[in-house]
Symmetry: C2
Subunit: 227 residues, 2 copies
């Protein structure tokens, strides 16, 4: 294997998977998804469908025990509701601190797990779909560019310079990621991003709003809403 | 809780636990141990005894699935033998690459897991027992000072500046860590470091040699060898 892709089954990581497969070929790519005690498993189900679509090797990891004591509103263990408002409005209430849907250091944990698995499988590259809109101000500090830079350095040095992290969309916004994905013929109808676990995406949570806007900027409706 | 201590049950992390308890008091400290598919569980048994000795809250995490594909010689899944020679001699054979007992990005994964758990439990500090001898040249790149610095920055930024990593021994060598532990009355007879899982430490693996030398430098024999 040459590249491991952090793969949630959402818009960004699916586009990233398509990018890695285009570069390395499907047999040299390992897609890694992680459960962490989410209120629903729609994302993981989407990830499985998309991995099947591409015929790529797909590994699933269960990190739920690590978040057993977290009160993050995305988690089953939490009694908090998922907010239905924009990140800007949420940040007014948290006084600039991470929002209630911030899963504590989740991206750091995902990348560290990915590093261990990538090295165990002979990969020299981790692909992940971070982009410039990801941190939503200070809502998700483990998506900021400064964080990405530090964790990338940590993985490069901590692996004995055997492994690097590639974030092909780091200089793009979400609309530009979608534009690239449309070129790559990404099956966006199979992706799932909504924080709720309904039959269809709710259309009003932070992440539903964000992806709808990205598709609109490309002149189309969100394909997941039209399934 | 105020501080989480990465706690393997070995010399360094037990001294680190003693340091955190001295600073914060035993009720404000959470000790975290992780299994990762080691050939034996002597370290975890030691960790339990030491946690009981101090009366500190102790959490155990099983990260074995993450290393399922690794061929590291410390792991049950591997068919490689654990080398019985100094790190300097091992590095001659690996041409400066990580040695066969390097568990891929283990310290990065431990620290990332610790960050998620620390934030979930309201801790603002992770204590861990890294010291200047730890990387043994390039044998363990995830113990180097440059790695430590990068992962500490990643955790601070990725937590929204809510969590910092404290490595109280980073400027010390192992003999100095032991000197500090003797002041703190650390129960070194309960610790376990040996890579083998015998009734007594083997005395010849890299880690046995290192700890024996550290105790000798303090004018005593390794207490674990005298139990």
């Amino acid at each position: 294997m040459k590249a491991l892709v952090l793969f949630s089954g959402g818009v960004d990581s699916t586009t990233c998977l398509a990018e890695a497969i285009k570069k390395y070929g499907v047999r040299e790519v390992l897609a890694l998804s992680a459960g962490y005690g989410q209120k629903h498993t729609k994302e993981l189900e989407s990830a499985r469908k998309i991995a099947h679509h591409y015929g790529v090797k797909h590994m699933e990891l269960d990190l739920t025990p690590i978040f057993a004591d977290s009160n993050c509103s995305l988690l089953k263990a939490s009694d908090e509701d998922i907010p239905h408002e924009s990140y800007a409005d949420q940040l007014k209430k948290t006084d600039g601190k991470p929002v209630s849907t911030y899963v504590p250091f989740r991206n750091g944990l995902f990348l560290a797990s990915a590093a261990s698995i990538a090295l165990s499988n002979g990969c020299s590259e981790i692909y992940y779909g971070a982009h410039s809109d990801d941190s939503a101000g200070s809502a998700y500090p483990d998506c900021s560019e400064a964080f990405n830079s530090a964790i990338n350095t940590a993985i490069y040095l901590g692996s004995g310079k055997q492994l690097k992290v590639t974030a092909p969309f780091i200089g793009m916004n979400k609309a530009q990621v979608v534009a690239r994905g449309l070129e790559l013929d990404v099956p966006y109808d199979l992706t799932w991003s909504c924080y709720e676990g309904g039959d269809k995406p709710c259309g009003v949570c932070g992440t539903c709003r964000d992806r709808a806007a990205a598709f609109r900027a490309n002149g189309i409706n969100d394909p997941a809403l039209e399934v």
